[in-house]
């Protein structure tokens, strides 16, 4: 640790000294160690090999999240235990897993909010397993490619004027961190594996963010109806329940899209009229959905 104050310095001690207290060591209020241990049951294995749960006793630290416990196991007991993570702050959507059977972000799930007793951690069920807590989510990226991107009408390039009200509406969809927990929990993916014909809730949110953008001019409703499989969704709301960003996936994305698709397929005249009325109609209609 830090040494003595060097001569001629700014009358402050060496770096590190006292600024932060160490996390290891005996349980003290500073170390945060509570003196308790947590029993962690973690799924371990890969297709074609042995698979099962390994149990670890993890020293509990105040405010510990499930990801901290998994990292502790990696560092101290099982160096090849695989998981994904990046931000450790609920911002990147990397650390999705099922904790005690519930799809969550491991970095936002505090151990002290779970019932006492063993904590079970397993990978997302709806995606093919790669190893341990990591699954193959690449099909989501393939789905995204099918959705035509944001497209605005050509104009003279002067800065756009958009109202904050419109931004607020769109922002709900744009908050999506692509954790794919909604894709994981949706029964259309879970039990029927219609993945080739069903975009899934994440991408309904994505399409909604494009369709409701006041400057976007494309119409993605046929795509939603056909390839997107919007009709397979029977509004169980499971996706909304697990979304860590509190996006009202069903109420604010899926249902309005379903209404639009219904319009398009049963009343093309009305649709053309609406397109002609232009962008304000787009958002006006969105407001009425609420």
């Amino acid at each position: 640790m830090a040494g003595a104050l060097p001569q001629g310095s700014d009358a402050v001690p060496q770096p590190g000294a006292g600024l932060f207290s160490p996390v290891d060591g005996p349980p003290t209020p500073e170390s945060g160690l509570t003196g308790e241990t947590i029993t962690l049951r973690v799924f371990k294995g890969q297709p074609g090999g042995e698979m099962g749960y390994a149990t670890h006793e993890v020293p509990e630290v105040t405010g510990m999240v499930v990801l901290d416990a998994v990292h502790w196991v990696q560092r101290n007991q099982d160096s090849d235990l695989a998981c994904r993570w990046n931000c450790k702050a609920g911002k990147c959507g990397s650390c999705s897993a099922e904790v005690n059977g519930r799809p969550v972000l491991m970095c936002k799930t505090r151990i002290d909010t779970l019932p006492r007793g063993p904590v079970t951690v397993q990978p997302m069920k709806s995606f093919p397993l790669i190893k341990d807590l990591v699954t193959d989510v690449s099909r989501n990226y393939e789905t995204n490619k099918l959705i035509p991107p944001f497209t605005a009408a050509p104009d003279d390039g002067t800065p756009w004027r958009i109202q904050q009200m419109d931004i607020d509406r769109l922002y709900e969809y744009r908050r999506c961190i692509e954790c794919f927990l909604c894709q994981d929990v949706c029964h259309v993916n879970r039990t029927h594996d219609l993945s080739a014909r069903f975009f899934g809730p994440r991408f309904f949110v994505r399409v909604a963010s494009l369709e409701m953008h006041p400057k976007d001019i494309l119409d993605r409703r046929d795509l939603l109806h056909d390839q997107g499989g919007l009709g397979y969704c029977n509004i169980t709301k499971c996706c909304t329940e697990v979304c860590p960003e509190d996006i009202h996936i069903t109420d604010n994305a899926i249902i309005p899209l379903k209404e639009r698709v219904a319009d398009a397929h049963w009343d093309p005249v009305q649709w053309v009229a609406r397109k002609l009325r232009g962008s304000s109609a787009k958002t006006g209609e969105r407001a009425a959905d609420k």
Partner: protein, 601 residues
């Protein structure tokens, strides 16, 4: 090669899928090049996604005296005038176009009452300048670029692949070697030109806002290929990281909290920044605020867990706080059980950003090695000795685009791609597989243990304040760890094995740490983020040079590179900053700036 490996070929290889890499790939593909983007994580998970506060651009939507010139002046002054002024010039002009471009690609920004892009105040920016959407600007930026990139013809993405070595033909970079994380397969990518957009490095420090990706692989690879690493001593401590609970220590608390009116207090309730910087106060530059918190803690006026209190609850209404800082509210509630609209947050300095990196040409991002370009946090020059908040999201767009376009030109002019040297491949393969191969019994070293030891050494001895003595301790530790790293051994197989992956990370971090420590030792002065207890003042000579670390005869050497001085008409621009102080101008610029005009105030 002793085993088969995947091969890929492209005109331009972009290493990194943060904002810099994505913007470079779009530019390269638009220039007609087949472009391959490689990233260690899944697409959309790079550090860029974590950026909160916003992107700085002199749009002057709220504060009409703002302009690209004032932005130029603020950035130069924040960087303590050792920035590459040519980069700052291009940057402050072009970032405006890049912001509007992002909007036209579907990116959202909060709006003013007139429907224009909203801007917020940030540390050491003269005017309200940061374009943002809530406190999730990075997410918006990366998602917009990601969608633009996947829908730009000519691009391809390879996710979850770690590159470990640049391949060279003669003195030119001609591709890269690495492994696929999920299978452990080895891969060789042949390319006409390479853009290094691999981000910064914080993981060799114990408390950092960086993810596992921030190990400095790109800088280490470029160094091995002969590139110069510039300004490596300048590592930014962000003043406000979380410090409690222990698991959350280091996680960023965005400067937007202070931009929206939040203030720092010590344990006596004093707003201490009024004492350290009476003009800019809580919105002083990051180096100053971080040091001030440190000094308060050392003086015994710290918060219970050794930091300061950040208070917005008493400054804004609860509704405003929820609206403007939603993800901060969420973060504190979920991780610390603190309602920031009611209580203060406990915060302390966390390693956040690296001003240093690959030395590049301002216009093109070309490194000193032919065929190798660099952009974003991996490159040096724009930020000098200290980066201003919001200048990185702009950096990655402006210079990502430039590097991508220049790499495309270079690849197109190349003709046939050179062959890859079998000898280089064999060496790269042996290095990567070594930790899985040898059995050393008792002598084997665990990569996690070495990583932790390096973090202790760097945090304690090469952290926020440094001295000759502490730096020499750090260098000794790095030497010992480098020796031990040759004996790293990983259990398990090649499929997704983090213990094995960490072996690779440790090697990159050791190289980069050595560059940090050697450069910090050679810079015998305090400037920006570099705080030397034994040299508390600025040094006139060191204000006219950058330091570079480069490989010579197998060892790391630190050398001086003279800065190109600003021409007189550019020096004058400095007076446009609200924070310009003629008395602080170094002697080589003295007398070149007229008294500040009325528009500056």
């Amino acid at each position: 090669m002793s085993e088969s490996y995947q091969t890929r070929e492209c005109d331009v290889l972009v290493i990194g899928a943060g904002g810099a890499g994505l913007r470079a790939a779009i530019a390269a593909a638009q220039a007609g090049c087949s472009t391959l983007v490689v990233s260690k994580s899944l697409l959309g998970k790079a550090h860029t996604v974590m950026a909160e506060g916003g992107i700085a651009a002199g749009l002057a939507n709220l504060d009409t005296p703002d302009s690209w010139e004032v932005h130029f002046a603020d950035t130069m002054l924040g960087g303590q005038l050792i920035n590459n002024w040519r980069m700052v010039d291009l940057y402050s002009r072009e970032v405006i176009d890049r912001v509007y471009e992002l909007e036209r690609w579907g990116g959202l920004f909060d709006r003013t009452d007139d429907g224009l892009i909203m801007q917020r105040a940030f540390g050491a920016h003269s005017w309200k300048r940061l374009c943002h959407v809530g406190d999730r600007t990075g997410l918006e930026l990366i998602r917009t670029l990601q969608d633009k990139m996947v829908h730009t013809a000519g691009t391809e993405v390879l996710m979850e692949c770690t590159l470990t070595r640049l391949l060279t033909h003669g003195d030119r970079v001609c591709g890269a070697f690495g492994y696929l994380r999920n299978t452990g397969e080895l891969i060789v990518i042949r390319a006409g030109a390479v853009v290094m957009a691999s981000g910064g490095w914080g993981r060799m420090f114990r408390y950092t806002s960086n993810s596992w990706e921030g190990t400095g692989d790109g800088a280490a690879m470029a160094y091995e290929a002969g590139a110069e690493l510039q300004d490596m001593e300048f590592v930014q401590f962000h003043p406000t990281g979380m410090i409690w609970p222990p698991g959350a220590r280091g996680i960023l608390v965005t400067e937007a909290v202070r931009g929206e009116g939040g203030i720092l207090r010590n344990s006596e309730g004093e707003r201490f920044m009024e004492r350290y910087d009476p003009v800019k106060k809580d919105l002083s530059s990051r180096d100053v605020v971080a040091r001030s918190i440190y000094k308060e803690v050392v003086a015994g006026r710290g918060s219970p867990h050794g930091g300061a209190f950040l208070d917005i609850a008493s400054r804004r209404s609860a509704a405003d706080i929820r609206k403007r800082l939603p993800s901060m509210c969420d973060q504190f509630e979920a991780l610390a059980g603190v309602d920031i609209s009611k209580e203060p947050m406990e915060v302390g300095p966390t390693i956040h950003y690296t001003m240093g990196g690959i030395r590049v040409d301002a216009e093109t991002g070309a490194s000193t090695v032919p065929g190798l370009y660099a952009a974003g946090e991996a490159a040096a020059g724009l930020h000098g000795a200290n980066r201003l908040g919001g200048n990185s999201l702009g950096d990655i767009l402006v210079f990502g685009r430039r590097a991508g376009a220049a790499a495309a030109e270079s690849a197109k002019s190349l003709g046939a791609k050179p062959a890859v040297s079998q000898k280089q491949l064999a060496g790269a393969e042996a290095d990567v597989l070594l930790p899985l191969a040898h059995d050393l019994g008792e002598k084997a070293e665990n990569s996690y243990v070495l990583h932790r030891a390096l973090q202790e050494a760097m945090q304690d001895d090469a952290g926020i304040g440094r001295s000759e003595e502490s730096l020499s301790r750090a260098l000794t530790a790095i030497g010992e760890l480098t020796e031990r790293s040759t004996r790293m051994r990983a259990g398990g197989g090649r499929v997704l094995n983090p213990g094995w992956h960490t072996c690779r990370d440790v090697l990159s971090m050791l190289t980069v740490s050595e560059a940090i420590v050697r450069s910090a030792t050679a810079r015998r002065e305090s400037r920006g983020s570099q705080w030397r207890f034994d040299f508390p003042e600025k040094d006139a000579h060191l204000g006219q040079i950058n330091l570079v670390a480069r490989k010579r005869g197998g060892a790391m050497k630190v050398e001086e590179r003279a800065l190109v001085p600003m021409p007189d008409d550019v020096v004058t621009r400095l007076a446009r900053s609200r924070f310009f102080d003629p008395a602080a101008l170094p002697s080589h610029y003295a007398g070149k700036v007229p008294a500040p005009g009325p528009e500056a105030h």
